[in-house]
Subunit: 210 residues, 2 copies
Amino acid sequence: MVAVTPTNTSRRAAPRPVDKFDRRRDELAESALTTLGELGYARASLREIAGNSPFSHGVVHYYFDDKLELVIYSIRYYKARCVTRYDAVVRDSTSPAELVEAFAAKLAQTIRDEAPMHRLWYDLRIQSMFEEPLREAITEIDGTLQAMIWRVVDRYATLSGRPPSVNASAAYGMLDGLFQQALLAYATLGDEVLDGLATQVRAVLPLLVR
Amino acid sequence: MVAVTPTNTSRRAAPRPVDKFDRRRDELAESALTTLGELGYARASLREIAGNSPFSHGVVHYYFDDKLELVIYSIRYYKARCVTRYDAVVRDSTSPAELVEAFAAKLAQTIRDEAPMHRLWYDLRIQSMFEEPLREAITEIDGTLQAMIWRVVDRYATLSGRPPSVNASAAYGMLDGLFQQALLAYATLGDEVLDGLATQVRAVLPLLVR
DNA sequence: GCCTGAGCTTGACACTTGTCAAGAGATGTT
DNA sequence: AACATCTCTTGACAAGTGTCAAGCTCAGGC
């Protein structure tokens, strides 16, 4: 044993299917995301995660060193897909008003479609304040999210012909605050909060340019 | 047994010291807050909490039905004290600029002095999305925090002689977002982020009035 | 046909958790 | 002094945790 099993992080020394190993990791990540999104970081056990996958609980340690590596891999896997969410909005809008509408609608749709993923994200971000090993990955992802939001605000400024009134960090902090507030209310009140979010965004975006 | 121990929530049927029971609850809440602030909701066990108190782990169930009641009681106990934090700022400021400075300074000081309490608050608020029993208390406290922030913004508007440009919910969402962002960065970078927070607040408050 | 090793399952381990019952001390009333 | 009740400690329980070792299954190379 010991050296036979593929030591996970350093990959297998394996043959042909160059990334069959990676594909399984992605598959496990997908299952993990489902469970984590439902139960949160603390309450999602590896057995539960494996239970929502085609595999048994032991397999997790075949592909990941420990729970933390699985969780970090999973959230990275998810966020890699989702940081481009607003790029179409930025690309296709031709007027400030159009961009505001498209952005507001996309934010609301994000909550409607992927609330569990986002409460997981906020859960992990908070946990990173308690658990140092999470911090690096979280910080990095948070940076890409800030850049994503800034592309929207910057484009809005350009279309308006006015300069931004706050920097990227402040813009992200404020809009993320609004989004999180809406997500929180969504847990209790459901769909009815989404219009409110759109209204707030319509009111706030104009404040972010001079 | 069964009916002898004071059934906790319904109180003891006890004698004179009308609130000795309540004082112990407060004492336990204080210890619980220390531990919860250090470890977070998920990792703070009742044994650890009791370990940071003058009592043994069994005593918790003498004063509280279960862990959840202790946690909710504790966070309420804390927030009851802290929702008045900015009242002096509101009361004593006589110009918009003065209020902005006092508010910004107080926000930064809050992070410096009570970071663990606030990351606990955010932790619990997020957990309330996964654990329904937490929701009611969290929602209520969040409302009082929003009112607290609104008193500041409203006062700022009055002093400026201009009406607010957003409603209470949006103002709270945005400022809370900035605060949380600073708290998060504070965990990694320490004191140096606090000036940044003050700068952001100076830039943002003026945007909240017309 | 046998062997090897990757992929996966099973079952166990050491440990922690919330909870609670039994009972010891303390306190104060009668 | 005796009693009852409050207060608190101790020790146990069952359930659940992450982890990991042993071994099963099966495809591919000799």
